[in-house]
Symmetry: C2
Subunit: 184 residues, 2 copies
């Protein structure tokens, strides 16, 4: 039953966004009564936060190809793949809505964009160790620069992202890092 409600919430989130999300609609879609939903989740925010937590994958693989360019490409591709998947899209529409004003949901965003880069920065550190990048390069800044263009195209330009977007993002981060832009 819990699963049915979570799925229904995700689906409702997909077409109406957070603003159009009503507990009643979620309950009906899940084939359950409104009261039942309220008995398990105290409010909308907690319900949505629960859904997001369920579909959040912070344990994506960290590539180690021996080449920074390839590693960045792989990371960008993985991010694009996740973000274009149904759960990824839904999580995005949820996170970047008014729901983000609630700490429960804002925490999910932090998990996504702080814990993620904290793991992914490994590829940058390895590149520095290999001598591919100057010593003193800020690893988290490189990863952020890798994500930013994809994120920008997705939310601002609202054009679909694909492999080419990932490719370009990797190119941007690589060129900037090599030029020493992220030097401390």
């Amino acid at each position: 039953m819990r699963a049915a409600v979570l799925d229904a919430t995700l689906a409702e989130l997909a077409d109406g966004g957070y603003a159009g999300l009503t507990i009643d609609k979620v309950a009906r879609r899940a084939g359950v009564h409104k009261t039942t939903v309220y008995r398990r989740w105290p409010n909308r925010e907690r319900l949505v936060a629960d859904v997001l937590g369920e579909h959040l994958t912070t344990d994506f693989p960290i590539p180690d190809t021996g080449s920074l360019a390839d590693d960045l490409r792989a990371l960008a591709q993985a991010f694009v793949a996740w973000v274009t998947s149904p759960p990824g899209r839904m999580i995005f529409t949820a996170i970047y809505s008014d729901a983000a004003r609630f700490t429960e949901i804002d925490d999910v965003r932090r998990d996504l964009f702080e814990y993620g880069p904290r793991r992914a920065k490994l590829v940058v550190e390895r590149a520095v160790a290999r001598g591919e990048l100057p010593v003193g390069t800020n690893p988290v800044a490189v990863i952020r620069t890798l994500i930013a263009p994809i994120y920008f195209q997705l939310t601002v330009v609202s054009e679909p992202v694909d492999e080419h977007t990932a490719e370009q993002a990797a190119g941007i981060a690589l060129a900037a890092a090599r030029a020493g832009v992220f030097h401390l």
Copy 2:
């Protein structure tokens, strides 16, 4: 009176966001009755769209220093300055909320991120003409890459942006453009 309501809306938008925006509160803050607001604006969305349209500056100056690096720096600084100003912040919180689901408000975003780059790409085209960048460089992509890191830090990382952010954004866009990442 119209001005008082628009100012009050902007102020309400600032502390409560779009989700916390109620016509009643706006009216009270403006020293006006709720009905009066409804007589001039049919709904919340139109009111907010009206406010945004009022404070939108699409006619920012296009720098022409003779150096792409300096031009990009100037553009980034201008964007940071606008985005950290009170109206800029308010417009941002409004645009990146559920309000964006309404076409009236989404149009404002398009004006901001399509018309802006369309003008700013001049500095890139001039750089190509000067031979600073390879022929065939996509000018809009360069401008987007300039904006993306600033936007990312502002909305995702939710850390304050400053001159250093602008500096780094300019460095990223410049390095990537020189490396030929935006080649068609």
